[in-house]
């Protein structure tokens, strides 16, 4: 654990780490738009960093969205701007025909906090700014403590969305609750309304400002983050659009996370990449939801911390460990 927090502060101290991240996101954004542009019939190659093979040659080298380096005739090369409106539109609509769910197996979590650092890296957050956090839980004095990763529950009856005055936070057709920081007025009513404490507010300038300058806002990544607005877990909807598992899910070394589509009744483990029937997984392991009595209808399920794979070891007081 101490090692992890050291890692985190390391990230914090070296903005170079973040700038590489943002560059990767930058390409990704281009990729998203590239798909749209290609569908429009224009044979354009996306990319922003290119170099000429030889001075005076009529070819330029371009990095494509799928990470290939190709050469394009100079005449055919066209600069395209990533369109904010397009990102906003697709981000608000969501993926048709899907209902995303997450299953968290508490028996496997040993508080490695890799999910958290992966998430914070992707979303340009500080070490204590959480889209997902791992909590030390204990139901009562006589029961055993356990670690519980806690992302946004992406409720089907989201109290946070209901109270938003400006439609800045909203639920998509695929169940994901997103936040539009181009719209948010920073009233923090959603923070007050969320029983899971799943939202964060940018009280000050976000961690990454300079490197994100000029990057069009991607609502599915919530980058660039913005001062005075809300941020929250997005189920990595930018990755889902590419058919990839969320950042936290793929980063977990212990197989804690399953992610999938309720409509397909299937979830895939982020560590082992094994796919299971959602209904069976929940049935066999007695899956449950967090505080279902509140009527929020979460899209995140938990499998009880039974037959645990590790010794519970709380290295430090979690209250003070940052």
């Amino acid at each position: 654990m101490s090692q992890n927090s050291k890692d985190a502060s390391h990230d914090h101290d070296h903005p170079g780490h973040d700038s590489t991240n943002s560059r990767r996101d930058f390409f990704k954004n281009f990729g998203l738009f590239g798909a749209v542009a290609a569908a429009g019939g224009a044979a354009v190659y996306t990319g922003y960093k290119y170099e000429e093979t030889k001075p005076g040659a009529n070819f330029v080298r371009v990095l494509t969205a799928d990470n290939r380096i190709i050469e394009v005739p100079k005449e055919g090369f066209k600069d395209i701007k990533v369109d904010l409106n397009q990102l906003q539109k697709q981000g608000r609509e969501g993926l048709k025909g899907h209902r995303f769910v997450m299953v968290i197996d508490l028996a496997k979590c040993r508080n490695a906090r890799k999910c958290i650092t992966a998430c914070q890296g992707a979303h340009h957050l500080r070490p204590h700014e959480y889209h997902i956090n791992t909590l030390v839980m204990q139901e009562s004095e006589n029961t055993a403590p356990y670690f519980m990763p806690k992302p946004c529950q992406h409720c089907d009856n989201p109290p946070c969305v209901a109270v938003c005055p400006v439609d800045a936070t909203f639920k998509r057709q695929d169940g994901i609750v997103l936040i539009d920081n181009e719209r948010c007025i920073g009233c923090r009513f959603c923070i007050a309304a969320c029983p899971y404490s799943a939202r964060l507010f940018h009280w000050e300038e976000p961690l990454v400002v300079e490197a994100d300058k000029g990057t069009p806002y991607n609502i599915e990544l919530n980058v660039p983050q913005r001062k005075g607005t809300i941020s929250k877990c997005l189920f990595s909807s930018d990755r889902l659009r590419e058919g990839k598992l969320p950042y936290c899910v793929s980063a977990c070394p212990n197989g804690v996370y399953y992610f999938g589509d309720e409509n397909q009744d299937s979830v895939t483990n982020g560590t082992t990449k094994e796919t299971f029937r959602l209904s069976e997984l929940l049935k066999v392991n007695a899956g449950y939801q967090l505080m279902p009595e509140l009527g929020t209808k979460p899209r995140v399920y938990y499998l009880p911390a039974k037959n645990r794979l590790f010794e519970f070891k709380e290295d430090k007081d979690p209250v003070q460990s940052i």
């Binding site: 057709q173 212990n254 397909q264 796919t275 029937r277």
Partner: protein
């Protein structure tokens, strides 16, 4: 002193745990890499190691492993290096306790690359490369066809291979069936061997959701790559339950966008605002009337 005791307890505890054998079948322990370990395989292995193993096993030889119970051994340690290549390969596939199985995450080739990286820290290691067995198998260039047998409710795969341009059934080959899902392939039924006619029948669940008309994209794969080479087939069969669930945002609700707000709420809000501001407007008109009445005087 107290620390010493805790350490002692941990050591004893982990010894007891490690006393439980991590069993590797002799045939698997004897397995050898199909390729020779070189600098390039070590380099490729390092990338995989850093991504998948380092978080627990640390950097090889630096003894910076994570303190779990049992303690994950350093990759360069004597304990680790005492394993045969095949045993390492097997353990990576199996996993145990907190160590995950890499069966589905890493290909066999990638596993051998990781092992090649680990062996780079053992100067005494001498590699034995496996004798290529490919070619000696009973069939090569197997092709598979998938079918839906409505009467039995089973999905059938037919395995054939071309011998002198004539399709011959492939018998005794193990295949696995998967349904393609958004993030991965869902195993259906168990791995089964083809019969003498090259046929494999899979029981298919009756309640698996398909697309809007019940189509499910199926994938079938040969498991024994060594004996039969690589072969797989895909087919889109109407074997699932038609799934047409509406978008979650279809209903009117308190959390919906403005256009999806409850009708009673729109009605109540508009009525209240119009009433209040209607009276206010009326009062303002009265002020105008007062002004006019005064102007006449």
């Amino acid at each position: 002193m107290k620390r010493y005791f805790i350490l002692l307890i941990i050591v004893l505890f982990s010894m007891q745990l490690s006393a439980q054998e991590w069993v590797v079948a002799p045939a698997e322990a004897a397995l050898k890499s199909p390729f020779a370990f070189t600098d390039s395989t070590r380099k490729a292995g390092e990338v995989i190691y850093v991504a998948n193993c380092k978080s627990c096993h640390g950097d090889p030889g630096k003894n910076n492993v994570i303190q779990l119970v049992p303690i994950p051994p350093d990759a360069a340690s004597v304990k680790m290096q005492a394993n045969t290549d095949g045993a390492l390969h097997s353990k990576l596939i199996q996993g145990r306790g907190a160590m995950p199985s890499f069966k589905n995450t890493l290909s066999s080739t990638d596993l051998w690359r990781v092992i090649s990286f680990m062996r780079g820290f053992n100067p005494k290691y001498v590699q034995e490369v496996a004798v290529p067995t490919i070619g000696s198998a009973s069939a090569q260039n197997v092709s598979i066809k998938l079918n839906w047998n409505k009467t039995s409710g089973q999905v059938e795969a037919l395995l054939t291979s071309l011998k002198e341009n004539i399709a011959q059934p492939v018998a005794g080959a193990e295949v696995k069936l998967f349904a393609k899902r958004f993030f991965g392939n869902l195993p259906i039924d168990e791995a089964r061997k083809s019969d003498a006619l090259g046929k494999v029948s899979f029981n298919f669940p009756k309640d698996l959701p398909g697309d809007s008309i019940g189509n499910v994209q199926l994938v079938v794969k040969l498991t024994d790559e060594v004996a039969f080479g690589e072969a797989s087939a895909e087919a889109n069969l109407t074997v699932g339950v038609p799934t047409n669930r509406p978008a979650l945002t279809d209903q009117r609700s308190m959390w919906g966008v403005l256009e999806k707000s409850p009708v009673w709420l729109i009605f109540a809000y508009v009525l209240a605002v119009l009433t209040a501001w209607g009276f206010i407007a009326y009062v303002v008109l009265q002020i105008r009337a007062i002004y006019r009445a005064g102007s006449k005087e």
